[in-house]
Subunit: 155 residues, 2 copies
DNA sequence: TATTGTTATACTCTATAACTATA
DNA sequence: TATAGTTATAGAGTATAACAATA
C-alpha cells in the first residue's frame, strides 16, 4: 500500500474521527506489516498467503483443502488457484485420500519443506523486528488485544 | 472475509508459528472489524474507504485529490474512481481551484454532509462495541500499539 | 440429499506506465 | 522540467452461483 502519513508533513490534514478509529489504525498497521513481510519474502518469490498454507501443511500433512481453508479463513473456491500455484512450483502436492475419492490430501514436497524452513526464518526475523518496535511486553499485549477483536465472542 | 476459526471445532488444525505472528493476528482482526463496519454501513450503501474520504473532506474542504490520497494512503490514480463514485452519487464534488487550473478542490455537498453525519454515528457505535470487547483501557492501548507498528520509525 | 473440489465470474483494493493540461 | 489529474491495465484477495464426481 501507499503507506499513509510518514509523519513529516507540515500542513497536516485533519483526519477527524478516523484518527481514533480502530478500523483505520488496523488498516494502516496491517498495510505496513504486510509490506514489510512481503519485502522479506521477495527473495524467495513468496507471498504471505501461500506461505500460510505451507505452514499449515507442514504441521498437518494430508489435510484436505476444505480444512486448510477453514483454518486460514480462505474459501474453498479461492483456495484452488493458490494450491495450483504451490503445486506448479513443486512446493506442495495433492494426493488421493484412501477412504474418500472426492477429497484431496495436501502434502508438502521435499522442496516445499526446504523452502518453508527459509521462509519461517525470514518471518521470525521480521517478527523480532516488530517486537523491538513495540517495546517490552508490547507484542504479547498486542496479540492478546487483536485476538479479542478477531472473535465476535458470544457474550 | 471468511472469518477463520470461530473457535468451535474439535479436531483443531495446528497453525504453527502463524498463531504467534502479528501479521496473522492483524489480518484476522482487520478482516473481522472490516466486516462489522461494512455491515453497519450497508443501510447507507457505503464502504469504509469512500467513507474515509468523506470524513477528510468534511474537515478539510477544498483539499486537492493528491493531498487526500496522501492523508489516507491512497494513490492518486486509485483515488479517481472513488471520487467519481462520490460525485455521481451527489455526495462530493470537484471544483476548480482559483490559482491553479490543473488542480481540483474537493468539497462535500449538502447531501454528502447529511449522509456523513449518519455514517459517523454508525461508525461511533461500532467503535463503542469494539471498546466493550477490549475491556477498560484496551482500546487506547491497542491504538497506541498499532500506531507504533504503522510507522517504521527511523530509530 | 449432502459434500469435495472445481469452473466461471465479479467486485474491491492496490500497483505501474503513460498521457493531458497546465505550471 | 515538474506537477495535478487522468486513462489504461494488471495483479491480489475475496465473493456468489453452478457444476461434476462422489458419499
Amino acid at each position: 500500500m501507499n503507506t499513509p502519513p510518514p509523519a513529516n508533513d507540515d500542513a497536516a490534514v485533519d483526519l477527524g474521527p478516523l484518527a481514533a478509529m480502530l478500523h483505520h489504525a488496523l488498516r494502516n498497521a496491517q498495510a505496513q506489516v504486510l509490506e514489510e513481510l512481503q519485502a522479506s519474502f521477495t527473495a524467495e518469490d513468496m507471498r504471505p498467503l501461500p506461505f500460510a498454507i505451507l505452514v499449515v501443511l507442514a504441521r498437518n500433512p494430508g489435510l484436505r483443502q476444505i480444512q486448510v481453508g477453514f483454518a486460514l479463513g480462505i474459501q474453498p473456491t479461492n483456495l484452488v488457484p493458490l494450491i495450483d500455484g504451490l503445486e506448479q512450483r513443486g512446493l506442495a502436492e495433492r494426493r488421493v485420500v484412501p477412504g474418500d475419492r472426492r477429497a484431496r490430501g495436501l502434502f508438502l514436497t521435499k522442496l516445499g519443506a526446504e523452502t518453508l524452513a527459509r521462509l519461517e526464518a525470514r518471518a521470525a526475523a521480521h517478527e523480532a523486528r516488530l517486537a523491538d518496535r513495540l517495546g517490552p511486553g508490547g507484542r504479547e499485549q498486542l496479540l492478546s488485544l487483536l485476538r479479542r477483536l478477531a472473535h465476535p465472542i458470544p457474550d
